[in-house]
């Protein structure tokens, strides 16, 4: 099957993720959507790697996973601490600072 379709899939996933970030309130969910976007990127990388026949893309994918993991660590830490002090994970509640 034509690998280009995987690219379309990747784009689709990326868009879904982005949309999720825009519409979901729960910080965790938002964060998961971001993870989804990262994975969309991974898919794109491996697809291109496959198309170009060089391995860079696949290596980058590994890096991306590591970065994603690190992001999870930091992100969850922050979100959890916020949750504990506010008893809510809604990103909309966190709007003390504005204007």
């Amino acid at each position: 099957m034509n690998p280009v379709n995987y690219l379309y899939l990747a784009a689709l996933l990326f868009t879904i993720g982005a949309t999720g970030v825009l519409i979901r309130r729960n910080a965790i969910v938002v964060f998961m959507c971001i993870e989804l976007m990262l994975n969309a990127c991974n898919l794109a990388f491996v697809t291109f790697s496959r198309m170009h026949g060089n391995l860079d893309g696949q290596i980058i994918a590994f890096f991306t996973m590591v970065v994603a993991a690190a992001e999870v660590v930091v992100g969850l830490a922050i979100i959890v601490s916020l949750f504990r002090s506010r008893h809510s994970a809604s990103v909309d509640d966190a709007s003390l600072m504005k204007l």
């Binding site: 034509n2 690998p3 690219l7 990747a10 990326f14 993720g17 982005a18 970030v21 910080a27 938002v30 964060f31 971001i34 976007m37 990262l38 969309a40 990127c41 794109a44 990388f45 697809t47 291109f48 496959r50 198309m51 170009h52 026949g53 060089n54 391995l55 860079d56 893309g57 290596i59 980058i60 890096f63 991306t64 970065v67 690190a70 992001e71 930091v74 992100g75 830490a77 922050i78 979100i79 601490s81 916020l82 504990r84 002090s85 506010r86 990103v91 966190a94 709007s95 003390l96 600072m97 504005k98």
Partner: protein, 549 residues
């Protein structure tokens, strides 16, 4: 592409992998980064093994030594001609060691050093239970207002982790402007972003706001870096490589051996353009350009002021460095596509930042918006696409970062019962109560406003001149107009400090330790020196104005 072609690709890809020869790393040329990262690791070990009482001093020692050493290394490299004649690519093409890189690394290291000083400041907050305290939470994990927090304060805990975190940030920033392939760029981006998110979250006072700032910064930052990553993917797809050199050749169409498998994608400029745009967007987010600026005010306000100061200066330096390299090394062939777009961004950034700042009432938010406006000015220099443009931007960044750190350090001094008194109304009559502090802050504000004889003017003149020579006269006019608008609110603060009667319940000005004093003093000194006799530094920036390809 046809199935057979794909098959052939597959077969080639499936060849038994020949043995990988070990990469050769130019440790000397990478030494600044290595030193800082290493120090950061040591810092972690310190956290693990050194007893709590002496950690603080140990950490300061490690950080300061590391940063000084790294700076010395940078100077040595520059002196060794790596900035000019011997400029080259290191680490198997991953990192460039050239003029801009070294100049920016030097700037970042100095900013970092001042950052460490402000981080380590322990005289401002009143002594709690016999322990001097800094601007960071006693125990970041404890819930604000909870008993555990009180206990932590009582026990005199302090979050000394901020120092290694800071070192990691600096390490990432050192790589960021030097990154010579997209992967390194991305990694560096994350390396300095993630610790920064954490640093935003650990304020001692107003912790809720601090955490909120961290969340916002984190979510939006991650969102932005996702875009960047996707952009990288697309560029990779376009050129089949993430190395700047190759990309540049492909973009220029000067590549000699075209891999047949790439013909299909290389023809597809959509990949290139969209990818480039997305990467640039990620960088614009970091520099805080409109419309990717909205995190700036909130984060600047919520984060602990020392962090804000460091972030405001160093992040801009690193991000603009990366942006310059990307645009000048990878995408010069695309100049006619991105220049108009960037011009648009620059215009809205300059005007937007200046206009919104007019009605701000919180000093930290005010400075945030002013930093946005300044990002616009710097973009004007970026757009010049001439060596002059590069050097002018470098100069501006150096000048700007010191003014910023100084200004935020002054903000940490003005305090009342609730910690820093950042609401402008509380600054009324500061000039009457403590003329010196007010005068110093006035100097910084005038530098921001670009009044002659301050570094701000020299920098502004440099970028506008470059832009005008680069044929962006319109930008200069807009820049001049927005400078006029911006002048209005800087002056408002000065009026407030000097011409309005002090409030009886007004804030007090804490007398800082030599650490913060150094930071402020250096800020003032650099501001005036770069304002009155900028030639030497202009020369530096001028020599450093050439990227290695």
């Amino acid at each position: 592409m046809s199935a057979t072609a794909v098959h052939s690709l597959w077969t080639t890809a499936a060849d038994p992998i020949q043995k990988i020869d070990a990469p050769n790393i130019e440790y000397g040329q990478l030494s600044p980064t290595l030193i800082v990262i290493g120090a950061a690791v040591i810092g972690i070990l310190v956290e693990a093994f050194v007893p709590r009482r002496s950690r603080y001093y140990a950490q300061i020692f490690v950080s300061v030594v590391a940063l000084v050493a790294a700076f010395a290394a940078v100077v040595a490299l520059a002196a060794g001609g790596y900035g000019t004649t011997k400029a080259g690519i290191a680490a198997m093409g991953a990192v460039a060691v050239d003029g801009p890189a070294l100049f920016l690394q030097g700037t970042i290291l100095l900013a970092g050093l001042l950052g460490v000083f402000t981080f380590a400041e322990r005289r401002l907050d009143p002594v709690a239970h016999g322990n001097r305290v800094d601007s960071f939470a006693a125990q970041a994990s404890s819930v604000p207002g909870s008993d555990s927090e009180k206990a932590a304060v009582k026990a005199g805990f302090t979050t000394t982790e901020v120092f290694p975190l800071l070192l990691f940030v600096i390490g990432g920033m050192l790589v960021f402007p030097a990154a010579n392939d997209l992967l390194t760029l991305f990694i560096a981006l994350e390396v300095f972003s993630l610790p920064l998110y954490l640093l935003c979250a650990v304020a001692r006072r107003k912790r809720i706001m601090s955490q909120e700032a961290a969340v916002k910064y984190f979510l939006l930052g991650a969102f932005a870096s996702a875009f960047t990553l996707f952009g990288i993917a697309l560029l990779y797809g376009y050129a089949g490589s993430v190395s700047y050199a190759t990309l540049a050749q492909v973009v220029d169409g000067t590549i000699e051996t075209v891999n047949p498998a790439l013909v299909g994608t290389m023809g597809n400029d959509a990949l290139l353009l969209i990818g480039a745009a997305m990467i640039v967007m990620g960088l614009l987010f970091k520099v805080g350009a409109v419309p990717f600026h909205m995190w700036t005010p909130d984060v600047y306000q919520g984060a602990p002021t020392p962090v804000t100061g460091f972030m405001a200066s160093a992040t801009k330096v690193a991000a603009f460095g990366a942006l310059l390299r990307l645009l000048y090394v990878v995408l010069p062939g695309l100049r006619w596509d991105w220049r108009p777009v960037m011009m648009g961004v620059a215009v809205v950034t300059m005007l937007g930042g200046a206009i919104v700042a007019i009605t701000q009432t919180d000093i930290k938010r005010l400075l945030a918006y002013s930093s946005i406006a300044h990002a616009g000015f710097i973009l004007a220099g970026v757009i010049a696409t001439t060596p002059d443009g590069v050097s002018s931007v470098l100069f501006y960044l150096a000048a700007y970062s010191f003014v910023t750190i100084g200004a935020f350090s002054v903000v940490t001094l003005v305090r009342d019962a609730g910690g820093e008194a950042t609401h402008l109304s509380k600054w009324a009559g500061l000039g009457r109560r403590s003329p010196l502090v007010a005068a110093v802050f006035a100097v910084f504000l005038l530098a921001f406003a670009g009044i002659p004889l301050t570094s701000g003017f020299a920098g502004k003149f440099a970028v506008f001149k470059a832009a005008a020579e680069g044929g962006a006269g319109a930008l200069v006019v807009v820049g001049v107009i927005s400078s006029a608008i911006a002048a209005f609110f800087y002056i408002r603060v000065i009026v407030l400090m000097f011409f309005s009667e002090p409030r009886p319940e007004g804030p007090t000005v804490a007398v800082p330790s030599p650490l913060t004093m150094t930071a402020i003093a250096v800020g003032v000194a650099v501001t005036l020196v770069l304002g009155v006799a900028p030639q030497y530094f202009l020369d530096l920036a001028g020599q450093a104005g050439v990227f290695v390809r």
